[in-house]
């Protein structure tokens, strides 16, 4: 009888009412799930998506000059870039300079123009100072002559080209500069005449990040292996040493390296005292010091994913391989290494990406030789006040990292990554 019941009751289809109930239940679950992640989504939107979007926008957007001298720029539109613009433009410029001098904003204009035409800054400032003393009516009548008389640069097309370029609200100048390129007035793109800085710096940053990653791998892999195979008590204690850097301030750790590496530092004192070298080695403020300090700081990021993956690798794999006749090295390469790949990729990617964008350590121990791209970005934000260029450099860095990640996914597979 029980069997009969089982057969009649085994129709798996839901009635319409049951289906509606099931759907409502499902919707409720989805709503709860959504509510749980909403705070994170909002946080990400404000703390991550919005700043990055702003940065991207700033790299293109440059309203400063357009706001400072709108009248001049408007009259400059028909000018074709040859000879001196007509008198109406010159007069307007003279009036704009006087107005800016009065409200103490001529310095800003000088700074902006100087980026397009080195040397323009002092001319703009001195001219503005001279014109400030004139009255507005005087300038309206003979402003053009006074401007030309103030400095010979005003009679050259170069300054007017610079004014026109700087006056564009939307510009690719920053991105071109970030790639060591520039646009001629005619509109062609060429390599920048005034020096190659950023491409070199990107290459250097990538090279240093690569060296740091390799160093972390070389130091971290054997240690992670040892930790994963040590008795739990030993492993726990050593793990504390690995994590110790996380519990001390980054600044303290970095300055400790200064104490070690400087000319009169611990290492040099030891080397000279032991007569290994006669003159102290120059170690601080070099690429070497940046690489050493950053390897030290980023090592845990390599060890942790490696350790977690190695922990899960059964020791019998190696034994099985050897019982089948493989020598230890060959067993390691053909069996152990491939199985640590997820942790290895995760660690390497983590260290590489973090070090490409690292700022504090190279700033403190790197000097000028050990600088990386983020130090230049910081420089443009804090000292040269060129936020547009800083944004463009930052965006390029982002694009670079995304490209590398994409390449990595192409050839290694991101699904392989295991962080813990």
């Amino acid at each position: 009888m029980g069997q009969d019941q089982a057969i009649t009751g085994s129709d798996p289809r839901l009635t319409a009412g049951e289906a509606a109930l099931a759907r409502r239940e499902l919707r409720r679950h989805k709503l709860i799930a959504l509510l749980l992640v909403v705070p994170l989504l909002l946080f990400l939107l404000f703390a991550f998506v919005a700043p990055i979007a702003t940065m991207l926008y700033r790299g293109f957007n440059n309203p400063a000059v357009a706001q400072l001298i709108p009248g001049t720029l408007q009259r400059l539109v028909p000018w074709d870039g040859t000879g001196i613009p007509d008198r109406a433009v010159l007069t307007r410029m003279a009036l704009d300079l006087r107005r800016l001098a009065k409200i103490r904003r001529s310095g800003k204009l000088a700074e902006e123009l100087n980026r397009h035409l080195p040397g323009a800054s002092s001319v703009v400032k001195s001219t503005a100072r001279k014109l400030r003393r004139k009255s507005e009516t005087e300038l309206e009548q003979k402003g053009a002559d006074l401007l030309l008389a103030a400095n010979s640069l005003w009679s050259k097309p170069a300054i007017w080209q610079a004014v026109k370029k700087a006056g564009q609200v939307y510009t690719d100048t920053y991105y071109l500069t970030a790639m060591d390129l520039e646009r001629t007035f005619a509109g062609d793109i060429q390599t920048r005449q005034s020096g190659q800085i950023y491409v070199k710096l990107y290459t250097k940053t990538l090279r240093m990040a690569l060296i740091i990653t390799l160093m972390c791998l070389l130091l971290g892999y054997p240690l992670a292996y040892f930790l994963a195979n040590a008795p739990p008590k030993t492993a726990n204690m050593l793990m504390i040493f690995v994590l110790l850097p996380f519990w001390t301030s980054l600044l303290v750790r970095t300055t400790a390296w200064i104490a070690l590496l400087q000319t009169n530092g611990v290492i040099n004192s030891f080397l000279t005292a032991a007569s290994i070298v006669t003159d102290p080695l120059e170690m601080l403020y070099t690429e070497f010091s940046t690489v050493v300090a950053m390897t030290h700081i980023l090592l845990p990021f390599m060890i942790l994913p490696l350790y977690s993956v190695m922990k899960g690798i059964d020791p019998s794999y190696m034994r099985a391989a050897m019982s089948m006749g493989a020598r230890p090295l060959s067993a390691f390469v053909s069996v152990y290494l491939p199985n640590t790949m997820p942790g290895l990729s995760a660690g390497a990617l983590l260290v590489f990406i973090i070090s490409v964008g690292y700022y504090i350590t190279p700033a403190l121990v790197g000097g000028t030789k050990g600088q990386m791209i983020s130090n230049i970005i910081a420089f443009h934000m804090q000292q040269s006040n060129n936020w547009g260029l800083a944004a463009a450099l930052g965006t390029l860095l982002l694009v670079l990292i995304l490209t590398l990640y994409w390449l990595y996914d192409r050839f290694v597979g991101a699904a392989n990554i295991k962080l813990g």
Binding site: D314, S316, Y317, R319, A320, A321, M322, S323, M324, G325, A326, R327, P328, S330, A331, S334, V335, P338, N339, M341
Partner: protein, 365 residues
């Protein structure tokens, strides 16, 4: 049968092992194996079985003593030179390789030609009836299938000795029985020598030529399954293999192999002396539940003693009766569920009977 064709193909001579330089995990291990023999190391968990196997394979050092394979000492030979097949409890199939690549691994290491590898891999895939599964990864196979692959991988390079460490431990009961048959079939077909480790006595009894019962690093008895079951050498073996009743007592008379024992539950029992002491020493009598009978008329039994029925357990094909002696010792009697199964009332004294050749006397420590 295997017991008398021991020719010392594999010999353990006074092998000892200590991990911590203080205590011996394996104490004076001696064993000889004939070529083609199926020997099982049977013992409770932690008794040192794996340790013996690991020393055999070369993954653990031998603290003292020698292991000889075909007359040559291999104690100091590197594991990869020993040419011993090994099956691990968790299979140890390489997860990043397909089944076919797993099988090909030992052949590739031996630099066999591509054609030979392909041919052999297919032959062994067919042998374990997984002919079409070469391209799958270990993760896509069921437990039993993985076990068969592990077995094939340990055999494919033709080792003459194969070690198996609880290879069926992770399988459910039905699959385990199936795999036991499978391993026996391959063993008979290919004729390799096996050292098989298990803590499952049923497995040991059905598969082995000989069984070495292991406890606390010492071989308690090494014999064919029927000998082990019917003539245990000491109380540990009697207890570990199968089910047994133990009755404490004192030896009152001794004549060669036979002793008379006064059991503390009341009565005298004649038994075969396994490792019992002289007259006056404490001993344990063992008698299996199926070798005990409840009082019947017209039968001639050597031993008889009174007991009180406590519980009756209906199992199906047989019935278990739980009796209690005067001193509180519990005695189990197993009776086939046929028409002769006696109808007993509770709390009524019955007489239990046994033959003297089914009773064994052991030293009581």
């Amino acid at each position: 049968m295997a017991a008398d064709r021991v020719d010392g193909y594999l010999r353990f001579r006074n092998v000892k092992k200590s991990y911590d330089q203080k205590t011996l995990v394996v104490k004076d291990f001696n064993l000889e194996l004939a070529k083609g023999e199926f020997l099982t190391l049977l013992g409770p968990s932690g008794s040192g079985k794996t340790t013996v196997l690991m020393m055999m394979a070369g993954f653990e050092s031998v603290t003292s003593g020698d292991i000889l394979l075909d007359g040559n000492p291999i104690t100091r030979t590197a594991p990869y030179k020993r040419n011993i097949g090994m099956v691990f409890q968790n299979y140890a199939l390489f997860p990043h390789m397909s089944i076919a690549e797993n099988l090909a691994y030992p052949l590739k290491v031996r630099k066999k030609s591509k054609a030979e590898i392909a041919e052999r891999v297919q032959r062994y895939l067919d042998l374990i009836e997984l002919g079409d599964f070469g391209n799958r990864t270990p993760g896509q196979l069921s437990g039993g299938q993985r076990q068969r692959v592990a077995l094939a991988r340990a055999l494919i390079f033709g080792p003459s000795l194969v070690l198996m460490d609880e290879p069926l431990g992770a399988l459910d009961k039905k699959l385990r029985e199936q795999m036991q048959l499978e391993i026996s079939r391959l063993h008979q077909k290919l004729g390799f020598t096996v050292i098989y480790v298990t803590h499952d006595q049923g497995e040991a009894l059905t598969m082995s030529d000989r069984i070495a019962v292991f406890d606390r690093g010492v071989v308690q008895q090494c014999a064919a399954p029927d000998v082990l079951y019917e003539q245990p050498a000491n109380a540990f073996v009697a207890d570990f293999i199968g089910e047994n009743n133990f009755l404490p007592g004192v030896v009152t008379r001794r004549e060669g192999d036979w002793v008379r024992v006064r059991i503390s539950g009341g009565g005298e029992i004649e038994a075969r002396c396994a490792d019992c002491g002289d007259v006056g020493s404490d001993c344990l009598i063992s008698v299996r539940p199926e070798k005990l009978f409840i009082e019947e008329a017209g039968h001639d039994y050597d031993n008889r003693f009174g007991a009180l029925l406590k519980t009756r357990l209906y199992v199906g094909d047989f019935i278990r009766y739980f009796f209690e002696l005067d001193d509180g010792t519990e005695v189990v009697v197993k009776v086939l569920n046929d028409h002769a199964a006696p109808e007993l009332s509770m709390s009524e004294k019955s007489l239990l009977l046994s033959r003297r050749r089914d009773c064994f006397a052991f030293a009581r420590k």
